[in-house]
């Protein structure tokens, strides 16, 4: 059993490295593939081992997905906000340092959240029924708060929120689009960002390998804020790490770009760990990876939770070391590459994947979503309002 688990962890870490590094490929997609191969896999192994692969993959993904968002400017929705401060550092030659900050956030988040699990469990059980009753009001309040916080143009923020929301409602309700989230989120957060990178003729300077310096007090503040806002947002559908990051940033005094990167890294990981806890204590699936775990594993006990947390600890260690090496390699390679061609190739890759996985209508969604995703950049408004694509459908679902 033990050796099987270790092998499963290594396979999961490998797969998570792939999904983490290729922008637009989300863990949900790979987890779905694992599910479709599960009848075959179950002839040589047990359901528990198979879910360990998914857990290892998901955790590795949360450690490494900031790398493409920083180096390529092509994020997943979870890391959309790390693009700005991360990319800024990349243009100053500090890409490596930016990645290390997010990894420091992720690693501390894993250690702290595993240690605090006995305390988090009862809090979750108490809070969740309350949150569930008022979910749509909380979402409306949170979204209005984020729109009113917008400095440049509140009107455009609202417009973007509603446009993304309408697109979300439309694409999630057309039954002929398979995996509608994939073209929707890739367009809003991935390809739109890549198009801008191409248009702005970005030149990447030679990168240095200086280890980041940050005041301890700022780092602690960032991690504390990520726990408070992360644990609230983790239980609200539609509110992901990106929204939690904005709320978390408001809670602290000025933590700066570096503190913000720690915050993003930590939130991403906390979200994943909390979704395991939610599965155990509330029996609800909070993200795609968990949905697939529940369909492989019929019942989920305390021992499974401990297994997943143990797996998370092992994977966190491996993924940290991987992130250090990969970001160093990227730092050496990226300035030498033709950045425009690289971005164009990634757009092409995403487009082909969308066509295969979601069909021609999905491709249409990708194109519309890309245009909507360009608006925040043109109007210099926060990209987080694009999350209206998930929040608005959820609000309507609970109100109507």
């Amino acid at each position: 059993m033990f050796t099987q688990i270790i092998i499963a962890i290594l396979i999961g870490t490998f797969l998570g490295t792939i999904t983490g590094l290729i922008p637009g490929i989300h863990i949900n997609l790979l987890a779905l593939l694992i599910l479709s191969f599960s009848p075959l896999a179950l002839t040589i192994t047990t359901p528990i081992i198979l879910t360990v692969v998914i857990v290892a993959m998901a955790i590795t993904h949360t450690f490494l997905d900031t790398i493409p968002s920083i180096f390529l400017g092509a994020p997943d929705p979870e890391t959309a906000l790390s693009v700005l401060p991360g990319h800024k550092m990349l243009l100053k030659g500090e890409g490596y340092s930016a990645v290390i900050l997010t990894v420091m956030g992720s690693l501390s988040a894993i250690i702290i959240s595993v240690a605090l699990t006995p305390i988090i469990l009862p809090i979750v059980e108490f809070l969740y029924p309350l949150i569930k009753t008022y979910i749509s009001y909380i979402l409306i309040t949170a979204s209005s708060f984020l729109i009113l916080k917008e400095k440049k143009s509140k009107l455009w923020a609202l417009m973007i929120f509603l446009m993304a929301g309408t697109l979300g409602i439309a694409s999630l309700n057309i039954p002929t689009i398979r995996n509608p989230l994939f073209p929707l989120l890739s367009g809003l957060f991935g390809t739109s960002m890549l198009v801008i990178s191409i248009k702005e003729n970005t030149l990447i300077p030679k990168q240095n390998f200086n280890f980041p310096t940050i005041k301890k007090s700022k780092a602690y503040q960032a991690i504390a804020a990520s726990f408070v806002s992360g644990s609230c947002c983790s239980f609200l559908p539609g509110l992901g790490p990106s929204q939690a990051a904005i709320i978390g940033q408001q809670m602290t005094k000025n933590i700066g770009d570096k503190g913000f990167l720690i915050l993003i890294g930590a939130l991403n990981t906390i979200n994943m760990i909390l979704s395991f806890i939610a599965l155990y204590s509330l029996n609800t699936a909070r993200n795609g990876a968990i949905v697939i775990i529940t369909s492989i594993l019929k019942s989920f006990s305390k021992n499974h939770l401990i297994l997943y947390l143990g797996t998370a600890l092992i994977v966190a260690g491996i993924a940290t070391i991987l992130a250090i090496y990969i970001s160093k390699t990227f730092s050496k390679i990226i300035p030498k590459l033709n950045y425009k061609i690289l971005c164009a190739l990634i757009i092409l890759l995403i487009a082909i994947l969308v066509f295969i996985l979601s069909g021609p209508l999905g491709f249409l969604v990708l194109i519309i979503a890309t245009f909507v995703g360009l608006i925040p950049q043109i109007k210099s408004v926060g990209k987080n309002h694009l999350m209206g694509c998930l929040i608005l459908p959820v609000i309507l679902y609970f109100i109507l």
Partner: protein, 118 residues
């Protein structure tokens, strides 16, 4: 903080994880029980693992009922598929949920492993 420190924290983190897994890995499979200890109503709903000899296999459309006997007793186990790989007097290991049917316990099979063919 230095890169080497981050490295150390990462490795310590992994080692703690391995230790946790070593402790837990033996407790992941459902507990092995003697068939006579499966009693209603207290066993209703538990996931259990049993080992024993097949004394009867009854096939119906979309359903197979395997009767398993160990040194202490007998229990019917239900598999919701047409299944023909198991024969009378094979030794098998089953895990599944104990449920009540006609006021008697039975097992809904999750996994089935053949230990010894007759």
């Amino acid at each position: 903080m230095q890169e080497s420190n981050l490295f150390k924290v990462a490795i310590i983190c992994s080692l703690i994880g391995i230790f946790v897994l070593l402790m837990i890995s033996e407790h992941l499979e459902p507990e092995h029980v003697k068939i006579s200890s499966i009693k209603l109503p207290e066993s209703n709903g538990i996931i259990a693992r049993i080992k024993g000899e097949v004394t009867n296999v009854k096939k119906m459309t979309g359903l197979t009922i395997i009767t398993v006997k160990d040194s202490t007793g007998e229990i019917p186990a239900i598999l919701f598929e047409d299944f023909s790989k198991i024969n009378k007097s094979d030794f098998i290991e089953l895990t599944g949920e104990i449920t009540e049917y006609n006021e008697k316990p039975e097992m809904i099979i999750n996994t089935l492993k053949c230990l010894h063919k007759s």
